[in-house]
């Protein structure tokens, strides 16, 4: 190592010990500077809607209504919002989802926050669009347990749905296709709001505390979180085996490649402190435990384990700083209004 690099590293270590933010100069060929890292997290200007299902207010209203309507399920008691509850940051706050007949399912309910930017849906990526995803849980016997033809018949039998569909889809009859397009449109509007972190990225230096800024440096440096939790949503939308226990094949059930064994989609970290417990199986109760899991390099060593998962040797202070940073990603959003159900 050159003398100049050694001096920069030594200076950086002293700053870290003093609890002072890392310098903006960074380390050549090593840890990125804070200024370089911050450039990667700018929010997009607009929500993307696909050409084949463009946004309309009428579709959004219909989709919102369908999303909260339990009559879409076979038992008439489970709505999309039962597992994707806005009060829990569009999850359900449970380690594992609960489906038809109160049966505990195999995985935690993922949030639908910011799903407009996600190409492959579900923990295992088995749906290629929100329109495809929207009907999956409705038809799944273990979840909402509803035959799609029966769902359409139920909706047609609710008189006040007629005008809502006519305004949203003037040229189309009520069908599972229009139900899916309406729900997908509504889901695309569910976007995490401006968080203190965004204010900091925008240049307001006092928007987040100093320990969170050091946590940000760790996130992009020593802790290597940003290798998978990338961009403004803090996800690469990719699939990784992070070394959790269990026999769930994950992505490999749908893509038969060795590297996909036990691999699950990287979740967004936006509003993450509102969505405990964590991981696809709900096995980590707190953010602190989740950080601990990564610090250990996962629990299971196996061929499919992602090479990015390895012991990090974080100090107790560094773990706290990481958690402090993660808490700055939470936005103070306007409470969600639940629509009155059509009769």
């Amino acid at each position: 190592m050159k003398l100049r690099d050694s001096l920069i590293l030594a200076a950086g270590s002293l700053l870290a010990v003093a609890g002072i933010a890392a310098p903006d100069s960074g380390v050549p060929g090593g840890t990125p500077s804070r200024a370089e890292s911050k450039k990667k997290y700018t929010r997009p200007a607009a929500v993307p809607f696909p050409a084949e299902n463009p946004f309309s207010k009428e579709k959004e209203l219909l989709g919102r209504t369908l999303f909260f309507d339990p009559r879409l399920s076979g038992s008439r008691s489970i709505a999309c919002s039962s597992c994707h509850n806005p009060a829990f940051s569009w999850g359900d706050g449970l380690p594992k989802a609960i489906g038809f007949g109160m049966k505990i399912l195999g995985r935690r309910s993922p949030t639908i926050l910011n799903s407009a930017w996600t190409e492959l849906l579900f923990w295992d990526g088995r749906a290629e669009s929100l329109e495809q995803q929207a009907l999956g849980p409705i038809a799944a016997p273990g979840e909402m347990n509803q035959d799609l033809d029966s769902m359409v018949a139920t909706i047609k039998g609710i008189q006040e749905y007629g005008p809502l569909f006519a305004q949203a889809f003037p040229q189309e009859a009520v069908s599972s296709n229009t139900v899916a397009k309406a729900i997908a449109t509504f889901e695309r509007t569910i976007v995490s709001g401006q968080a203190p972190f965004d204010e900091w990225i925008a240049g307001h230096e006092d928007a987040i505390p100093e320990d969170a800024k050091v946590g940000f440096d760790l996130f992009n440096g020593k802790a290597e979180c940003s290798k998978c939790h990338t961009d403004w949503m803090f996800t690469d939308s990719g699939f990784h085996d992070i070394g959790l226990a269990g026999s769930d094949p994950g992505r490999a059930k749908h893509l038969h490649l060795a590297a996909m064994q036990n691999a699950f989609k990287t979740p967004t970290l936006r509003n993450v402190d509102r969505r405990a417990p964590y991981m696809h199986d709900g096995s980590e109760a707190t953010l602190e435990q989740a950080v601990e899991l990564y610090d250990q390099g996962g629990k299971e060593r196996r061929p499919s384990l992602a090479p990015e998962i390895k012991p990090l040797h974080l100090t107790a202070l560094e773990k706290k700083q990481l958690v402090a940073f993660l808490k700055t990603l939470t936005s103070q959003d306007t409470p969600v209004t639940i629509p009155v159900m059509p009769q």
Binding site: E119, L120, G125, K227, C228, T230, D236, S237, G238, F239, H240, R251, L255, L257, A258, A259, M260, A263, A306, P307, E308
Partner: protein, 105 residues
């Protein structure tokens, strides 16, 4: 002889001998450097990884399947495309990485 001159001379000799060609596709910032490539049967593509994370390039296009398996940063892997066809290439770890390889005479 300069490096550049040797490359040029080598390319001319290979082309005149009817030797198959190779296209280099880099992976950087979780993207392929090329999203569409047209090659001839028997040509190869060399995938390089300039990212700090592993990739896993593959195709499940019927009859034209291949998988590089996990490719660490700075590794390179060469894949031959012996048959005509349109090959959808992906990274299984990062599904936003997509590329189309057209193989035709």
């Amino acid at each position: 002889m300069s490096t550049m001159l040797r490359i040029v001379v080598g390319s001319i000799l290979l082309a005149s001998a009817g030797v198959c060609g190779d296209v280099v596709v880099d992976q950087k910032d979780r993207k392929f450097s090329k999203t569409e490539v047209t090659i001839k049967p028997g040509d190869t593509i060399t995938f390089t990884n300039s990212d700090e994370v592993a990739h896993n390039v593959f195709s499940v296009t019927p009859g034209l399947e291949f998988e590089i398996h996990r490719q660490a940063p700075n590794e390179r892997s060469t894949i031959a495309f012996p048959k005509e066809g349109v090959v959808e290439v992906r990274c299984s770890i990062h599904p936003r990485m997509k590329m189309i390889v057209t193989v035709k005479k």
